[in-house]
């Protein structure tokens, strides 16, 4: 098959992958433009990892197909492998080697000579501020350092398309920001990045386009702005000093913002609120009504809210079942 030049870096149509009875991926279509960061957003077990593994040639689709930079992921798997790199959910580096050895190993496997591999490793360790830890075993790295090494390992020979599977899951906020900065720099350099994440915030920060995926299907697609607009913006969250004042607070908020969401904690209230100005006004009205406020925040919709709005069920609901699917997929890997 010839490589058809395409403005799309990744093009998937009707991808299906089942593990036993569980259809982990159930007809996913994706169209990722070249040179952009594209987010695949969904809860645990939605089928993100399985999708990315098919695109990275690690799993063969049961049905449907995909092309990466014009190459079929099944028939031209080797051509695809020469152009992509994968940073998996489990850190894709060898924990029993040092950081330096990891990068030299990959350099050699990717065709660099002995000296070139060494030099390239040193250059990347320097660029990712890992030079001091170069000689330490990776199993002694912190989570953030491991992730940085993982991404550096993906760049030994710079790929045209990069797959990042939940690159910040389990990282502290500082390390997460560092990884975000790295992703921005990579995207600025023209690399196409497919980013799987379960954080709306992360997709919002980094991605130009987002596909929301649930139970193996794409259930919504668009820019972060469109997606949030479809959910109806954010919410005002208020915590009362005195739960006894809840009826008063509810009355004020319904008056200002139209409705109040159910909350389990009697001291907490939230109300849908798309415009910050109206939220500020509502807080001022609470104060004038003599309702004591411990704290308040005006938040973007969470992934849960997006899910609730798009699917009618919260993201958490299917955890148990979906984690089974994920476990099966892991077993398939092993």
């Amino acid at each position: 098959m010839s490589a058809v030049p395409s403005p799309l870096a990744i093009e998937a149509t009707g991808l299906v992958k089942a593990f036993g009875d569980v259809r982990a991926v159930d007809g996913v279509d994706l169209a990722v433009p070249s040179g952009s960061v594209y987010g695949v957003l969904g809860p645990n077990g939605a089928g993100k990892t399985t999708t990315i593994r098919m695109l990275a040639t690690l799993l063969r689709p049961d049905a449907g197909g995909a092309r990466v930079l014009g190459h079929d992921v099944v028939d031209e798997a080797d051509a695809v492998r020469g152009l992509v790199s994968l940073t998996g959910q489990l850190a894709s580096v060898d924990e029993d080697l040092t950081g330096r050895e990891n990068l030299i190993l990959l350099g050699r496997l990717l065709g660099l000579g002995r000296q070139a591999a060494k030099a390239r490793g040193a250059e990347l360790l320097e660029a990712f501020e890992l030079a001091d830890a170069a000689g330490r075993l990776v199993k002694n790295y912190s989570g953030g350092m491991r992730r940085r090494l993982d991404i550096a390992a993906s760049l030994v020979v710079p790929p045209t398309v990069m797959f990042l599977d939940e690159p910040t899951t389990g990282l502290d906020p500082r390390s997460r920001n560092q990884v975000w900065d790295i992703i921005r720099t990579l995207a600025g350099g023209g690399t196409t990045i497919l980013l799987c994440t379960q954080y709306l915030d992360e997709a919002d920060q980094l991605a130009a386009g987002i596909a929301v995926i649930d139970r193996g299907k794409v259930i919504a697609e668009g820019t972060p702005g469109q997606l949030k607009a479809s959910v109806g913006g954010g919410a005002l969250h208020v915590r009362l000093l005195d739960p006894e004042q809840r009826p008063d607070a509810e009355r004020v908020l319904i008056g200002e913002l139209g409705s109040v969401n159910e909350e389990a904690d009697p001291a907490r209230l939230s109300a849908p609120c798309a415009e910050p100005e109206r939220g500020a006004e509502a807080v001022a009205q609470l104060h004038r009504a003599g309702v004591g406020i411990a704290d308040f925040s005006l938040g973007q919709p969470s992934l849960d809210e997006v899910f609730l709005a798009l699917t009618g069920h919260p993201a958490e609901e299917d955890r148990a079942q979906d984690q089974d699917a994920e476990t099966i997929s892991e077993a398939g890997v092993a």
Binding site: G82, S92, L97, L106, F128, A153, D181, G188, Q300, V333
Partner: protein
């Protein structure tokens, strides 16, 4: 808009943005690594692991020493009349046994590797598909060599003086390592089929243990019941032990050596492609 700003508070960056841009810009894509380079690189990976955790060599060094001491002094007098005579008989046999036992660990190591994320990276590299497996076994062959050398050194210390001298001993060692390379493909296949490193270990030893004991490694099969003797005579491990003894004593029969090499080649021909297939689909 959020009440608690999340991202834009500037911390010292964990990377040098300019250096990163430069690192991204300057690299032309090198030609693909050839099959040999890829395999040898994976062998180097195996060696590095030994370098970082040298304790893992204990099982390939201590156990064989124990076997030599135990069999020579415990059974030597009873079986052969004197420990010195028995040492000459058993040393090539224990060499065979301990190296073959080590092959089970190749399957265990591969199974352990599969639970790690790095395997995904290897499988998305544009390299010769069997390279990670061939490379790992090349690295393991070095372990086999170490195990074998330890046995021979211990034997020499205890008074083992083979007639064919250093050359014969080296030839026997080489033959055993070649056979072990072929046999370890069986265990890498097992390593990809079973679910846990422990299962691989158990299944592996369940196979290799009886096969080794039902051979002429420890005793001359002439005293065995006829049916058992017939089995022992065709057991490739017996033939390997006989060939090793022959090489060390300078009386090896070419036919034995040919059979051993043929069995190693056959095992490789069947199980290497099988392992590669399973690895690709894993």
């Amino acid at each position: 808009m959020t009440a608690n700003p999340t991202t834009r508070d500037r911390q010292p960056a964990a990377f040098d943005e300019r250096a990163l841009r430069k690192a991204l810009a300057t690299t032309p894509r090198p030609p693909r690594a050839n099959a040999l380079t890829a395999a040898v690189t994976f062998g180097w990976r195996g060696m590095l692991k030994v370098k970082h955790v040298p304790e893992q060599l204990l099982d390939v060094t201590i156990t064989p020493v124990m076997f030599v001491l135990m069999f020579t002094y415990l059974f030597g007098g009873a079986i052969e009349g004197s420990t010195a005579d028995y040492l000459n008989y058993i040393l090539p046999g224990v060499l065979v046994m301990s190296v073959l036992f080590t092959t089970v660990y190749s399957g265990v190591a591969l199974n352990t590797d599969l639970t790690k994320g790095v395997i995904d990276r290897f499988r998305t590299l544009p390299i010769w598909r069997p390279a990670p497996l061939v490379g790992a076994l090349l690295g393991d062959s070095v372990r086999y060599l170490i195990a074998g050398t330890v046995i021979i050194v211990v034997g020499v210390i205890l008074g083992f003086r083979p007639d064919a001298g250093v050359g014969g001993v080296l030839a026997a060692l080489a033959l055993v390592v070649v056979f072990a390379f072929g046999l370890s493909w069986v265990f890498t296949t097992l390593g990809l089929l079973l679910r846990s490193p422990n299962a691989v270990m158990n299944a592996g030893f369940m196979g290799i243990f009886p096969l080794t004991f039902l051979s002429n490694v420890f005793v001359d099969p002439e005293t065995l019941p006829a049916g058992l003797e017939a089995f022992v005579d065709v057991n490739p491990i017996s033939i390997l032990a006989t060939a090793s003894r022959g090489l060390m004593e300078g009386s090896a029969e070419a036919s034995d050596i040919v059979i051993v090499l043929a069995v190693a080649a056959a095992l490789t021909a069947v199980f290497a492609p099988l392992t590669t297939r399973l690895y690709r689909k894993a």
